[in-house]
Chain length 516, copies 2
């Protein structure tokens, strides 16, 4: 097999963490901002987020959930009301204490002591408590239920160790918050949101996930149940890519979210919350990226097809003719449909060598790259690369196809659908191949993760679902192997053996993994 | 003329400010949050914002501007660099000083003294300085220019007196930031953004505006030129609904935004910034609202057509037949186009009396409301109200039309376009009728505003464009009459008289008005 000269300097197998950072830089997705823990999301990264937003927002609206906007600032008193919630969040919040700056007399600005807030405000780390206040105002009777709200917003959780997209102090997300008349209805909504996230991850992001319930120790602070979608990254680690919580009546009690039922009695609402964030973009990188950069699934690609005329910058008439030929192609492609929408196509006529631009779009992961030179134009053809089939394995060169211009245009819709499907299949095959089942003891788990396998993936084990102190002991034990419990997969086989931690009869199966 | 029983308790002519608040409540658009200066934007209000976002974002992208996202926190040092900018903003910012809370030992949370930030962070009031840092990293050569970025974000400016949508401590907006090689190109971009805002206001919001340059005293802190769109509210006051700034090289100098030009020399970039916010929604209310509530221009209506079956809740089979009849109508209408998009239609089958629901949508200002009762169904017709022609002036009752179901469906596209156009024409006529020209002296201005006219509108006067202390004196004089200079309208007649303030030969015409 010929040697291939990949576009990145770091290969996944050499240093996965460094590779991840290099993809972000090479694809021009984001960068450090200079402000502690905050990143700048650049056009290509933000374009992917806009696509995720658009598709997920359609799913949210289709479920009858309505978007609102709630304050970024939350009074401390809101946090004090829910004991578990404050315990979980108070340690990592940005606190606003002043509302004015003054000159300190030496040309430096300082918070004005005369403008100290009586009650400090917290920059929202999540909005259950402030939305709970609104729900208490909005819900009076059973007729007001279910109350289904969502907001797209920024949130801040002070983080000591940050990694772009995966863990930043400020991040972008959506948070759904709903109130219901009964536990059953709230649990149904919790599952609906979870299924929506699964569909978004698998159908839009082409990122296969395992859905399931988190163990008690991993619950959202204040939740009765927390469910997650877990995605397997190419290094075999798990990424929690979205969560859906059944909150019981905990937040309703704290905020007074009550309704009069059909019998005229007052009752507490059962609430839920669910969210996904820009963290999903980190998942897309580590699911689909390769040694040449990112590969963006067509459904969420800001541009699905990029056309690069090979302009010479010397012969104006020739360049104009080539640009016109490409513009005709752009119009033809823009009239095509792929994955239920018009194809997003960019004709890039900025100055610069076509080969340099080609590699820039390879690193960005544009699904289809079409280069057109004067000889292509003369022959009525184009030179086309599918990003997911970049290399010709026989020659070690870029794997160009040369369809006629009309064939290329007519074929992009089906080709984009095929790329979307191929990326999902590749990732799902990898996920399935890297979940090891039937591991029957803690020693076997330890052996699995200390063995030769570079990327040992996940193991499925059976357990007795210990709680409290017994669960803490399990968590400690797993921590020694750098493992965590990911979730109790929906649809797993029933338990039929012994708990690997306690030896008691097992009650369910859980997934163990290293994780982000 | 018969007496009409309007849907609101407060009439515009009785108490415009109270009417404004009542519309917001009656249309269920927003409410006070309980957090100082912050509001909750409810589904109907947020739906309008989503529509404005979608339409304006299309305009922004069509101009080649790319969306990004920058940190919400700005280090103090960024503000210290640009003297005018800090002077303009430092007085009203939210300052983050701690990153953790602890229990004070008495069950109350307090900022953890051990988690005090070395350098306080400011919650962005605007992002010139933080985006300037990014531009300095991104721009190296003339090839990187122009750099055209935008972000959709929340910002915070501490406000002592707030009014929903018009002036809140937190608000939502977009801020465009661009860098250019020359003053000329930056000024062209400043004008492009201004014209984009004019088109957005007039075509999407049906809100006529006057575009022009703000006087020196009203410039954005740090700007060389500030341009605005000014809309006339129904009480004759002006609302600054959007601004576009040419920033010269002020921010480039402060942040080091430099490029190597084609001759290999280093030069400072010329930058611009431009923004509109949720304040525009306040403008929509005060432009189009009437004594029955809001009237939403179809282009930005979350739902353009609302179908209300008159369900009885007694005869299930009859209700099912009526719902089916309405669902067929919904499908027919959803297949229609209006204003270049598919019609947004809602079939509302929630429990409740049809008349109560009708008036709820009247107050919300849904452009077309279609009620269908069993007799309508039998006759193959529907009962349709155009919100902008709500009353039958002969009878004093709601002005129902009764087209056949098929006619109603086939006609909604044209009817929505007609409503959009009618709302604009009505507002433009009012604006034009309430700008008084040819006012030749300060006494005449004073007389105009102290006269009998309840809503004296705007006056156009000529001035010599004083600067510095002379301008400050003018501003003080106007303040005595509660007046401000709105802008120097583009396209106004050339000056041909004397300055009403100084008696010197005038150089241009300006608009004076009371304002929000």
């Amino acid at each position: 097999m010929p040697e291939i000269r990949h576009a990145l300097t770091t290969k996944r197998e050499d240093d996965f963490a460094a590779w991840y950072q290099e993809v972000i830089t090479a694809a021009d997705m984001a960068e450090e901002s200079g402000v502690r823990g905050c990143m700048v999301i650049k056009p290509w990264g933000y374009g992917i987020w806009e696509r995720i937003q658009r598709l997920l927002d359609d799913r949210i609206k289709a479920a009858g959930v309505q978007n609102c906007y709630f304050p970024i600032f939350i009074p401390l008193a809101n946090f004090e009301r829910e004991a578990e919630h404050v315990e979980g969040f108070a340690k990592e919040m940005a606190v606003v204490t002043h509302h004015r700056l003054i000159d300190d007399g030496y040309g430096k600005l300082i918070p004005d002591p005369a403008a100290k807030l009586e009650e400090p405000l917290v920059v929202r780390p999540t909005s259950e408590t402030i939305i709970g206040d609104a729900m208490a105002r909005w819900v009076q009777s059973w007729r007001d239920l279910p109350l289904l709200t969502n907001q797209w917003a920024n949130v801040v959780r002070w983080e000591m160790r940050t990694r772009m997209f995966l863990r930043t102090s400020e991040f972008l997300w959506q948070e759904g918050h709903t109130a219901h008349a009964s536990r059953e209805e709230a649990e149904t909504e919790t599952q609906r949101a979870l299924e929506m996230y699964r569909a978004c991850a698998e159908e839009d992001l082409a990122m296969p996930v395992v859905t399931g319930e988190k163990p008690e120790n991993e619950r959202f602070p204040g939740a009765v149940e927390t469910w997650s979608i877990e995605a397997m990254m190419q290094d075999g680690k798990a990424l929690q890519a979205g969560t859906s919580h059944y909150l019981g009546t905990n937040f309703s009690e704290a905020a007074g979210i009550k309704y009069q039922n059909q019998e005229g009695q007052e009752a507490l609402c059962h609430t839920t919350s669910w969210g996904v964030s820009t963290r999903m973009i980190g998942g897309v990188i580590m699911t689909h990226g390769d040694d040449d950069g990112l590969r963006v699934p067509p459904a969420i690609a800001p541009q699905q097809v990029v056309i690069l005329p090979m302009l010479r910058g010397k012969d104006e008439a020739a360049d104009a003719a080539l640009t016109a030929y490409c513009e005709e192609l752009r119009v033809m492609i823009a009239a095509q449909n792929a994955l239920g929408e018009r194809v997003r196509v960019l004709l890039d006529t900025r100055p610069g060598k076509a080969a340099a631009k080609r590699w820039a779009y390879v690193r960005k992961g544009a699904p289809i790259i079409i280069e057109v030179g004067s000889r292509d134009m003369e022959g009525g053809v184009v030179s086309l690369i599918r990003r997911d089939e970049l290399w010709n394995m026989d020659t070690g060169k870029a794997n160009f196809q040369t369809p006629s211009r009309e064939e290329a245009a007519a074929g992009v819709g089906a080709m984009l659908a095929d790329i979307q499907s191929a990326l999902f299949t590749e990732a799902a095959t990898r996920r399935d191949a890297n979940i090891t089942r039937g591991v029957g003891s803690l020693d076997d788990v330890a052996a699995h993760y200390s063995g030769d396998a570079k990327y040992p993936g996940w193991v499925e084990v059976q357990w007795a679902k210990p709680t409290g102190a017994a669960l803490e002991k399990v968590v400690e034990t797993l921590k020694e192997h750098k493992l965590t419990i990911r979730n109790v997969p929906i649809g797993a086989q029933p338990a039929d053996g012994a708990c690997i931690f306690t030896g008691e009869p097992a009650v369910e199966r859980i997934l163990l993994a290293r994780s982000y």
